[in-house]
Amino acid sequence: MKRVLPILIVLVVASVASGQPVVTGGSNASSNTVAPPAGPETSPPGLPQSGSATGSNAPATAAALGSAAGSGAGSAAAGPKAKAWYDVLADKPIEEEGTFFMPRAVNRVADESDLMFYSVLALSIFFFAAIAICTVYFVIKYRHRPGHKAEPSAAHNDTLEITWTVIPTLICVFLFWYGWQSYIRVVTPPQKAVEIDVLAWRWNWQFTHQNGVTDSDLHVPAGVPVRLVMTSKDVIHSFYAPAMRVKQDVLPRRFTYAWFDATKPGTYRLTCAEYCGTSHAQMACLATDETGHCTRRAVVVVHKDLAEYKKYLDDKLADQMKLPPVELGALLYEKKGCNQCHTVDGSPKVGPSWKQPDWGKMITMDDGQQVKMDENYVKESILVPTAKARPGFQKGAMPSFEGQLKDNELAGLIAYIKSLKQ
């Protein structure tokens, strides 16, 4: 074995030399070349990122108000004409800056875990290179060829065995300890934090801010800790914001928590990491193209400071109140994730389409019961989905929205559905 050890040492040096550039040098050649997802309705980029100065009066909303005075204008009326400043922010391309391996962390407490990642990466490359080079070298050197024979050597060597037991043990102890230390920092929120309620269901996120504003994009301030209080309405989901290095399962009938402290304003990815059924890949998808690819997902919007975040809260609240019912309904259709299961063009999806020709008429339920398709029926279907179902659809496949819709929101949804009747 005396001949092996020097080789090992040489390999160590060689792989360190080759391993390091991957870690550090790779960061320059980041993968920014990939085109950002561009939604069909995305406003032309170029609006200043901190557009709060002009956005406070929400002129977009006022315009929408004027145009949609007459309800029942048909499905063409769905969706506001112009977007509020905060939605424009959310539509901005996602920040993908980072190394070849990972997007840059924008969470103040995540640097340590990133350091762990890159250290273990270097360590792994070193060990793999050592083992691979040894193996390949031995295979070439000791390959069978005429006249070549195996030479006798010791079949065991306790010193060597103990060495390669103790070294991995020490490495593992270190990795565990630092991993544990950094984990504790990542999961322990500070005393003071902006608290946001998260409700997940198939297949949408709903973020409820402290003033009651709800949204499917997560708006947070930069430089202030944000604590998420999360629960699910149906199955298990998992809140995952890769740039924040935050992941936490969201469980039904139980609260779980996550927190982060965003360091850089921008728009970041938000995904569901626990498999939850058909549209698991498209949780909170606001727009899709013809292949079904989601072009505008819900995102994490990091505002530049607390003031801008507060402005978002105020403007959003004002906008939510000002919208006429049909507009509000059309907005909620997307924001509450109704679009995941219902269409507005008459074609059935997981649930029946909202565009039904039989408004005001008697319809037959799956159990043969005759019901009048009116406001009461729609309201019951939203609040108590287990009560009735149209033929061909499953009773209670939809979660109840009891307690999650304000009166005007409920009225807005009903008005919107009614407006689709033609």
Binding site: G212, M321, P325, E402, K406, N408, A415
Partner: protein, 446 residues
């Protein structure tokens, strides 16, 4: 099962030639009888280890739910009959003895004793299952079942479970008070009809609640007009909605005047839902319709009736809520068992508050009289899963022992060859052992 695997000798392409001078049940690939026996014994021990792991998940679930919800266990164990459980424990322990005895009889070649022991074991096992059948069928009848099917009639006195058919028929539960006993004895709650809110445990009486229109008469005094029955029970959501539409129809936490008004003309305003709720515990039923009865109640106190949350007669806006409760089946004295914890209400008084802080014991007692805590079904789930799986094992044991009995009568077993009896007896012991854990864990909770 491994015990079966080296039993009789037909089938397969086994050569069938036994080892010279040994039982014909020694298989070809074993060196000798001892080798076969040792292999079988090691196999059955591994099988038993597997069985322990198989049950272990259920024990873990038991512990977990008990740690998280002790109240469920202390409430629900009363449905299990210790008497039945104890008899079953004794029966199983005795059958384990006869099973062990059978092994010895086989080793000594005492064929008659072996047959007797095996037969006794089978008999005991059948007795065990018979008693389990009684327990299960009773619970089935009372709908004291697992998960979604948990919807029992619960006697408020806790003495006797009344049959669902007789006492829980209809939509409303009835409670009957017994003067002599001083507590409610008959009638039952229906879980599905009760609010599962610990702050609102109540005994429901069979009440008829009416909403009466009030208008000003000529003399300025209110005149009762048309009435309609209120069938809906108050839930938190309804109350909230009621309050919101009542107090804030025009303020509205969201939306401005104009838009909501516009919407109002288009859609229905959230309706006022008159509703009623049962009285706070402890409650006494008042019979409000029969004034005479009220006046002549024993000791001049009200005998029966109900307290609804807003009082017996609550005027709100232009309506009045009137609760009319049926007299209990047995017109009786005020309910002492409950009255000692509360003021006996005077006519028309509002919900009764307890006069003193209840001790823990009293609270428990009170709780055990009330409806079950949330998710009590989990206890029944655990109970049925554990005893059910154990029952399946007992049933399999019966089949195995019948097979052994058949072979014993045929005379297969000799002092040279008694492995199957030994292995089956070991299996039977583990089944017995599991029951010995189940009995205290499920029946003897306090």
């Amino acid at each position: 099962m491994s015990a079966d695997s080296h039993g009789d000798d037909h089938g397969g392409d086994d050569h069938g030639h036994g080892h010279a001078g040994q039982s014909r049940f020694i298989q070809h690939h074993y060196d000798d009888a001892q080798h076969q026996f040792d292999s079988g014994k090691f196999g059955i021990w591994l099988f038993l280890a597997q069985e322990v792991l198989f049950f272990s998940a259920l024990f873990v679930a038991y512990v977990l739910y008990r740690v998280h919800h002790p109240e469920i266990y202390s409430y629900a164990h009363k449905w299990l009959d210790v008497k039945f459980g104890a008899i079953n424990t004794a029966v199983l322990i005795f059958s384990s003895l006869t099973a062990a005895w059978a092994v010895r009889a086989a080793q000594l070649g005492q064929r008659k004793l072996l047959i007797a022991c095996l037969a006794t074991t089978i008999l005991c096992a059948c007795t065990f299952l018979g008693i389990k059948y009684l327990e299960y069928s009773h619970k089935w009848h009372e709908q004291i079942l697992f998960g979604r099917y948990f919807d029992p009639c619960i006697s408020p006195g806790g003495e006797e479970l009344l049959t669902r058919k007789d006492k829980c028929a209809g939509t409303k539960s009835t409670v009957v008070f017994d003067a002599a006993a001083g507590k409610p004895t008959a009638g039952c709650f229906e879980i599905s009809k009760l609010d599962l809110d610990p702050n609102r445990v109540g005994i429901q009486a069979d009440c008829d609640v009416q909403e009466v229109k009030i208008s000003k008469g000529a003399d300025g005094k209110p005149v009762e007009g048309a009435s309609r029955p209120i069938t809906e029970r108050c839930t938190d959501e309804l109350v909230e909605l009621l309050e919101r539409t009542e107090g804030g129809a025009h303020v509205g936490d969201m939306g401005t005047h104009e838009t909501t008004k516009e919407a109002e003309s288009d859609k229905k305003v959230p309706q006022k839902f008159p509703c009623w709720r049962p009285a706070y515990q402890p409650a006494v039923c008042l019979d409000l319709t029969d004034a005479d009865k009220r006046a002549h109640g024993v000791g001049g106190k009200p005998t029966a009736g109900i307290l609804v949350e807003y009082g017996d007669e609550e005027e709100r806006l232009d309506v009045k809520i009137k609760a009319t409760c049926k007299a209990p089946a047995v017109a009786v004295a005020p309910v002492d068992a409950l009255a000692d914890r509360a003021n006996t209400p005077a006519e028309g008084t509002k919900a009764v508050e307890p006069v003193h802080e209840l001790s823990t014991h009293e609270e428990q007692e009170l709780e055990s009289l009330g409806p079950p805590p949330e998710h009590t079904n989990m206890f029944l789930t655990i109970y049925f899963a554990m005893t059910g799986l154990h029952g399946v094992h007992v049933f399999v044991g019966i089949l195995v022992f019948i097979w052994l009995l058949y072979r014993a009568i045929r005379g297969d077993f000799t002092p040279d060859y008694f492995g199957p009896i030994d292995f089956s007896a070991l299996y039977w012991h583990i089944v017995d052992l599991i029951w010995i854990f189940l009995f205290p864990l499920l029946y003897l909770i306090h």
